[in-house]
């Protein structure tokens, strides 16, 4: 199932030519040797995948920080991410949830 976290780590892995399994939510961008320009590049990769701009004044230290920022933007603006939300709905249905 795609999540914002998995989309983010896949983008990061693509950038760093490595596997997404090397990261955890608490991984800091600094520990990966990434600076503010790298983060800007990562945001472009993510924006291409998500289809909306990721603008925030919040400090981004860890992968989870960025996930939270993206989720907040989604919530505020009511943006759906097909890969994430459709899968979520399907999972909810399979689990007998009330979605749909």
């Amino acid at each position: 199932m795609a999540t914002v976290y998995s989309l983010l780590t896949e983008g990061l892995a693509e950038r760093l030519c490595c596997s997404p399994s090397e990261f955890t939510p608490q991984t800091t961008f600094a520990s990966l040797g990434l600076d503010s320009l790298d983060l800007g590049e990562l945001l472009i990769i993510l924006e291409n995948r998500l289809g909306f701009e990721i603008e925030s004044d919040r400090k981004i230290g860890t992968i989870q920080d960025l996930v939270d920022i993206i989720e907040n933007i989604r919530k505020k603006r009511g943006i759906r991410i097909p890969d994430v939300d459709d899968n979520k709905n399907a999972d909810d249905k399979n689990a007998g949830g009330s979605a749909g």
Partner: protein
């Protein structure tokens, strides 16, 4: 004045990604020119280039460093790492007495065109924040300074096809005048891109030949322009006493450097080659040339109709009755034109010619041009031990650079 020796060499080239592979292929005359693979050249008049082959940037850089650098910078990091390792100077020089003069004629054009395409297709938000640092032509020198902790003078040279030679000459003078103990010097280029080839082609600067062995033809009657090449070359220059005291490899001595300008036309050389000749004359004067000694000249020799004649005339003017006894060859017949890297790669050729007592050939030279009437060492290398070598590099903008080198004497 201080003496300046060379203690490390490195090269990434169309004919080899180590100094010894490069040198072997230059001496054997194994041509590095082939069909363009970097883009589809079907609609172009030019179909050949001298591309670097089998280059693995991960051999020299961390994965994120590779992602945030243009190919011209990757080549620079690679050739410089080779040179730094051979020299072994790193722990022996204080960062304040250590500098970098390392140029690129064009800079990161691969990056430039890619990001421009993103701008046109998807708007400004999609342009990489690395566009500027990957594109600008000083970034190879900047990143080399970061990697090797250099706090002295760090700057690029940008003198078109003379870029690499300008870097060596300027670095030489910094040490000669006592301003530094060690300098990283050289040039890098990675401009085999569609728009760059189109631009050079429309200047009528490039050969239109489809035969790789009959495309880069310096001094040959059939010559019609150069073949775009690429790569990087680095020399470590070091103050003589500094190098000797630490037991460094002594690979040659820089003995003369002169830069002049044609002030004539943006791309066409002065037909009489006078300012190029003046650069040569001053360079060998500094090197204390003695008539009768064994001199080898590595020509600029790009294979353009006017340039080769002007350079040949200049050699006559400088060496007079001795000109016929000076073997002259063009490495570009083998490597194509490595543009900003050419001057540095060809300085390496001069140093290795003195080391091995062999002068490399001008390959493809089967139909001599009567207006080019020097000894161009056609087709095959020759046993010859120079006591003085000269490397010429001339660039668009009228830049003329000549470097003189000798074996190191005690």
């Amino acid at each position: 004045m201080k003496r300046v020796v060379v203690t490390g060499l490195g090269v990434i080239s169309p004919v080899g990604n180590t100094v010894e592979d490069f040198w072997r292929n230059v001496v054997e005359g194994n041509c590095g020119i082939g069909p363009i693979t970097r883009f589809d050249s079907a609609d172009f008049k030019v179909h050949l280039a001298a591309e670097v082959k089998d280059f693995d940037p991960f051999q020299y850089m961390e994965r994120n460093e590779v992602a945030r650098t243009d190919p011209y910078i990757r080549y620079a990091m690679a050739s410089t790492q080779q040179a730094v390792e051979q020299s072994g100077f790193l722990s022996t020089v204080s960062p304040e007495r250590f500098g970098v003069i390392f140029g690129s004629a064009i800079g990161g054009v691969t990056t430039c065109f890619r990001e421009h395409a993103k701008l046109l297709a998807n708007g400004p938000r999609r342009v990489s924040p690395f566009f500027v640092p990957m594109f600008i032509a000083n970034m190879a020198s900047g990143l080399l300074a970061i990697r090797y902790n250099c706090h002295g003078l760090v700057m690029p040279t940008v003198t078109a096809c003379a870029t690499g030679a300008s870097a060596i000459g300027e670095a030489y003078e910094k040490i000669r005048f006592g301003l530094a103990d060690v300098m990283i010097a050289g040039g890098s280029e990675a401009a085999i891109t569609d728009c760059a080839i189109a631009g050079f082609s429309n200047m009528k600067a490039l050969s239109l030949s489809d035969d790789p062995l009959a495309a880069s033809l310096p001094f040959d009657l059939r010559r019609s322009g150069f073949v775009m090449g690429e790569g990087s070359a680095t020399l470590i220059l070091e103050e003589y006493e500094h190098a000797v005291s630490r037991g460094a490899p002594l690979l040659g001595e820089i003995c003369g450097y002169c830069a002049t300008c044609d002030a004539y036309h943006l791309a066409t050389p002065r037909p009489d080659g006078k300012q190029g000749g003046r650069a040569m004359a001053e360079s060998i004067r500094q090197a204390n040339w003695q008539p009768g000694e064994n001199v080898y000249l590595n020509a600029h020799g790009t294979g353009t109709p006017l340039g080769d004649i002007a350079e040949s005339q200049a050699v006559h003017e400088v060496f007079g009755e001795h000109a016929a006894r000076v073997p002259v060859s063009s490495t570009k017949s083998v490597t194509g034109h490595m543009i900003g890297a050419a001057g540095a790669a060809e300085a390496i050729v001069c140093l290795l010619a003195m080391r091995d007592g062999v002068v490399p050939p001008t390959i493809g030279l089967t139909e001599p041009d009567p207006k080019c009437d020097l000894d161009y060492v056609p087709l095959k290398a020759r046993a010859f031990r120079p006591t003085l070598t000269l490397s010429n590099s001339f660039g668009f903008g009228g830049h003329n650079v000549s470097l003189a080198m000798r074996p190191v004497r005690g």
